[in-house]
């Protein structure tokens, strides 16, 4: 346990170090063992990787501290190795420069995540994890097929080489379809979200937070990289489909969240909805790339912080009251003020109310949609915010009043309350840091399309 928290600190320092490095020298290529691209394994870091690594380190550190108080000894011995395994996979994923390497890290991430989801035991957790396992394997398989097609078609797995060679052929479209579908499945894009609520809601709280905040983003990162480098110039309308599915996800996920009577399911459906925002960027980016992708990066960042905070807060409530029925929350605002505050602040960011990271992200997306006259998207975004407000405040409303069934409370360790609150505060604070963060994210111009030459 101590080792893990120390590891997280080490990862954090390395990330900061990498940050300074690329801040000074621009994007960073590393060839492992000196073997260059077609033969060896390459690593690559630019502003986007840095952003993802930072989120992972930050949220990971928070979750580690939380988990150190959350798990009793018997569970703890399983949690820590799996979590560090997942962390390694995530960090590898955000640094990989070729699509096969991405596959490896993707698979590692998926397997570690499934094992973590099964950790709480019990029928629900095992059933959820089983479904999650099958889904994630199917997703990886589809992705791997896409890799094989690309390798066969263009003779390389290196992203930058592929970017140069890619052209509008059926091979490219087929691999786009396969990889897109596989990753969408892993990210639970509507209507492929069926596995998410049960897996995320039945897992232990720190694991739910990891799955929603980080694992989903891993899939998105790969899709984003491939899209920007390889597929975007030859997309032939795929972005419209992604945008439509994203819009549907926002509406459907939010409506489902609103219907839930249990807190963790509500938060899980909220993730389904929030993933939708990430996909809305694909059609919007055709007009104004950098603004849109910056907005999406901001959405991803603030969602990671806020959703982790929400799941951890839900974990506290579950620990405190022994249940997560929303209607029976019983004055938690007064009894667990820090946790209630964490949920509320995270909710503000999820809704996209100012001042918060979620607001900055939504503002950038909204701006792009408005300048392009995409009224459908404008309406979906606003509707999504309204529905999010409805489900967040549904919880908060009940948190103020006395429940009809009083229950025996169990004390929540202070560490668990503070971690949730600090993560939520971070989600709010980054609303003020856009002038600093946006230039950082754009180091190495990850969002400038390079493959237009063909």
């Amino acid at each position: 346990m101590g080792v893990s928290v120390a590891t997280l600190f080490a990862v954090m320092f390395s990330t900061v170090g990498l940050g300074f490095q690329i801040l000074d020298n621009g994007p960073y290529h590393h060839t492992i063992g000196g073997w260059v691209a077609p033969l060896g394994i390459g690593l690559y870091a630019d502003g986007l990787s840095l952003l993802m690594l930072t989120i992972t380190a930050l949220v990971g550190l928070g979750i580690s501290v939380y988990a150190s108080a959350y798990f009793e000894q018997s569970r703890s011995v399983h949690f820590w190795p799996l979590w560090l395994f997942l962390l390694a996979a995530l960090n590898g994923l955000f640094l990989s420069a070729d699509i096969f390497n991405l596959y490896i890290t993707l698979e590692l991430m998926g397997l570690a995540a499934v094992a973590l989801a099964a950790l709480s035991g019990g029928v629900n957790a095992l059933a959820g994890a089983m479904r999650y396992l099958l889904t994630t394997l199917l997703g990886s398989l589809a992705y791997l097929l896409g890799v094989a097609l690309l390798y066969h078609g263009y003779g390389s797995v290196d992203i930058s080489i592929l970017a140069e060679r890619a052209d509008a052929t059926p091979v490219l479209w087929a691999s786009l379809g396969l990889m897109g579908a596989g990753l969408a499945l892993k990210m639970a894009l509507f209507p492929l979200h069926f596995w998410l609520p049960s897996a995320h809601a039945s897992a232990p709280a720190p694991v739910s937070a990891l799955l929603s905040a980080l694992v989903i983003k891993g899939g998105f990162y790969i899709l984003l990289r491939l899209w920007l480098e390889i597929f975007e110039p030859h997309s032939s309308g795929a972005e419209v489909l992604l945008g439509l599915l994203g819009s549907a996800a926002i509406i459907w996920g939010s409506l489902q969240a609103l219907r839930q009577t249990r807190l963790k399911l509500l938060i899980a459906y909220s993730t389904v909805a929030q993933v939708g925002y990430l996909f809305m960027a694909f059609p919007l980016s055709m007009g104004a790339g950098v603004t849109v992708w910056s907005g999406v990066a901001y959405m991803a960042l603030s969602h990671a912080l806020a959703k982790a905070a929400m799941f951890l807060a839900a974990g506290n409530l579950l620990h405190f009251g022994g249940h997560d029925r929303i209607a029976d929350l019983d004055r938690v605002v007064q009894r667990l003020p820090l946790t209630a505050g964490a949920f509320a602040l995270a909710g503000v960011s999820i809704i996209g109310l100012p001042p918060s990271g979620g607001f900055i992200g939504k503002w950038l997306l909204l701006q792009s949609a408005l300048t392009q006259g995409q009224w459908g998207m404008v309406i979906v975004m606003l509707l999504g915010s309204l529905l999010a407000a409805a489900y967040v405040f549904k919880v908060l409303g009940h948190a103020f009043i006395q429940a009809s069934v009083p229950h025996e409370p169990r004390a929540v360790p202070a560490r668990m309350e503070w971690v949730a609150l600090l993560l939520a505060c971070a989600a709010i604070l980054i609303g003020f840091l856009a002038p600093i963060l946006l230039p950082l994210i754009n180091i190495g111009d990850p969002f400038v399309i390079t493959g237009d030459i063909s």
Binding site: V348, L366, L386, L396, I401, A434, P435
Partner: protein, 499 residues
């Protein structure tokens, strides 16, 4: 170091920081909490005093912080901002004293005063906002920080009222956000500018601008309780009395009305808005709300509900004054921003005193209460006569300028609305006064607390007396420098005459 750039930020921080500290205090640390509250309120008052003095001597107070690549958070102390900020600071101080007395011995006070401070922070931010995005941020913060105050009592009824409030205000906020974002995509700036920043836009944007105006006014109208967006306000009276007082006089309702003033004057500009043809419908809507609110108030037996409908009616005077689109009516509308606040807060303080001291919640229970609580009812009487518009009280000044302004702008129908509304005000306030002073008191009050020889606790009695005195002063001393009327004249001159 340039202090002028820091003072607006300090004004906002002077309630934010004590508020955040108060959240962490244990329930029983009454003395420290009270000290923090009073320290925040008084230092804010001093800072605002410095700004008033400074602006008079030609200083320019402006805080800028980057928010997005081309957007900044701007806090600026212009004349209109100062008018509203002085009102909210002054009334915050008074209401804090009142709330300390009112909530004595009740649970969850740290939470209450924490959010109370946040609420005032948001209001002051709304007042000082120098562009639309800053306004929007504080406007939403106001929505959020008021909600816990509304549901403070933690009853099922409070939860419902809070829910209704949120449904209205969050949708309103979304409309305002849409309007703002759309406007920004057309202009690339959101900076409040005297007489607006839109006049350079070409004619092809006409219909877009009309829609934006409607979106923004709808978003602001929710908080300003313009008909038909007022539904949340009468329900919101489940909140404790100090919250109602603040809500109706300075915070939520007033922020909406202030926003309308801002949007018409400093975003669209009155001439441009008139040319778009959007001002006249606003005038009609405001006039209708005035009459409608008064009519509904007539039939309420619950005192706070009657006052709530009276607010619906009175706040629309501000929108009406703006929408008449003449310099004199502008004075009337803008000065009513202050006058309505003073009068309504007095009335709500008194209603709170009646409920707290005697358990009186209904108008029908108020017989003879004037003899039991003469000071409270004296303050109530001044507030009520002010609302009716009797000279020489504050309300008379507002109505006089509104009426003159309407005649000057050639809109004599407004005078009929004003007369009708004053008549209705009299019809729903005078019976209360008659019953309180001249009817025989019942043998026992619904729920009487004993305060010894005094009629009620001093912390409850002083605030309404102070605000009632201010109602009197704002009317009698209206022509002195620094009076609300003189500021309103300054604002009007700037909007209409200065190059």
């Amino acid at each position: 170091m340039n202090w002028d750039a820091w003072i607006p930020l300090l004004v906002v921080a002077s309630s934010l920081l004590p508020g955040l500290v108060i959240f962490t205090l244990a329930e029983e640390r009454i003395r420290l909490r009270t000290t923090l509250n009073m320290f925040g309120a008084i230092s804010k008052l001093l800072l605002v005093g410095v700004m008033l003095w400074g602006v008079f001597h030609g200083h320019h107070y402006e805080t800028r912080m980057p928010l997005l690549p081309d957007l900044e958070l701007v806090l600026r102390a212009g004349p209109l901002a100062l008018l509203f900020v002085s009102l909210s600071t002054l009334l915050w101080l008074v209401t804090t004293v009142y709330a300390i007395g009112y909530l004595e011995g009740s649970p969850h006070r740290s939470r209450f005063f924490g959010f109370f401070s946040l609420c005032v922070t948001a209001t002051v931010g709304v007042a000082l906002a120098g562009n639309m995005i800053t306004f929007l941020i504080f406007y939403e913060l106001l929505t959020l920080s008021t909600y816990p105050l509304l549901v403070h009592r933690g009853t099922e009824e409070a939860r419902r009222a809070g829910q209704t409030y949120l449904v209205y205000t969050i949708i309103g906020g979304a409309l305002l956000l849409l309007g703002t974002a759309w406007l920004y995509s057309l202009t690339g700036t959101l900076e409040f500018t005297p007489r607006g920043f839109l006049s350079e836009l070409g004619g092809e944007h006409r219909s877009a601008l009309i829609t934006i105006f409607i979106l923004m006014i709808a978003g602001l109208g929710v908080k300003a309780a313009l008909f038909p967006l007022h539904g949340w306000l009468p329900l919101a009276m489940v909140a404790p009395a100090p919250v109602s007082a603040l809500l109706h006089a300075v915070a939520v309702v007033k922020a909406g009305a202030f926003g309308i003033v801002r949007v018409v004057y400093d975003v669209f500009g009155i001439d441009f808005a008139s040319a778009l043809g959007v001002i006249e419908p606003l005038a009609w809507l405001a006039a209708f709300t005035i009459i409608y609110g008064s009519l509904r108030a007539l039939f309420q037996d619950d005192l706070k509900r009657r006052l709530a409908f009276s607010t619906v009616s009175q706040v629309s005077y501000i929108a009406l004054g703006v929408a008449i689109a003449g310099p004199v009516a502008t004075i009337g509308g803008v000065v009513h921003l202050v006058h309505q606040g003073l009068m309504k807060i007095t009335l709500f303080f008194c209603a709170g005193n009646l409920a707290e001291t005697l358990g009186i919640h209904k108008v029908s229970e108020m017989n003879g209460v004037g003899r039991r609580m003469p000071w409270t009812m004296a303050a109530f009487t001044i507030g009520a006569f002010g609302m009716i518009g009797a000279p020489p009280l504050a309300g008379f000044i507002s109505k006089w300028y509104l009426g003159m302004g309407a005649l000057e702008a050639g809109q004599s129908w407004v005078v009929i609305v004003l007369a009708g509304s004053s008549l209705l005000n009299a019809v729903y306030f005078l019976p209360i006064l008659y019953a309180a002073w001249f009817r025989k008191a019942p043998d026992s009050w619904p729920h009487e607390h004993d305060f010894g020889r005094k009629e009620t606790a001093l912390a409850l009695l002083l605030p309404p007396l102070i605000t009632a005195a201010l109602v009197l002063a704002a009317g009698l001393l209206a022509t002195l420098p620094f009076s609300p009327l003189e500021w309103a004249k300054l604002i009007s001159v700037r909007e209409f005459y200065q190059p």
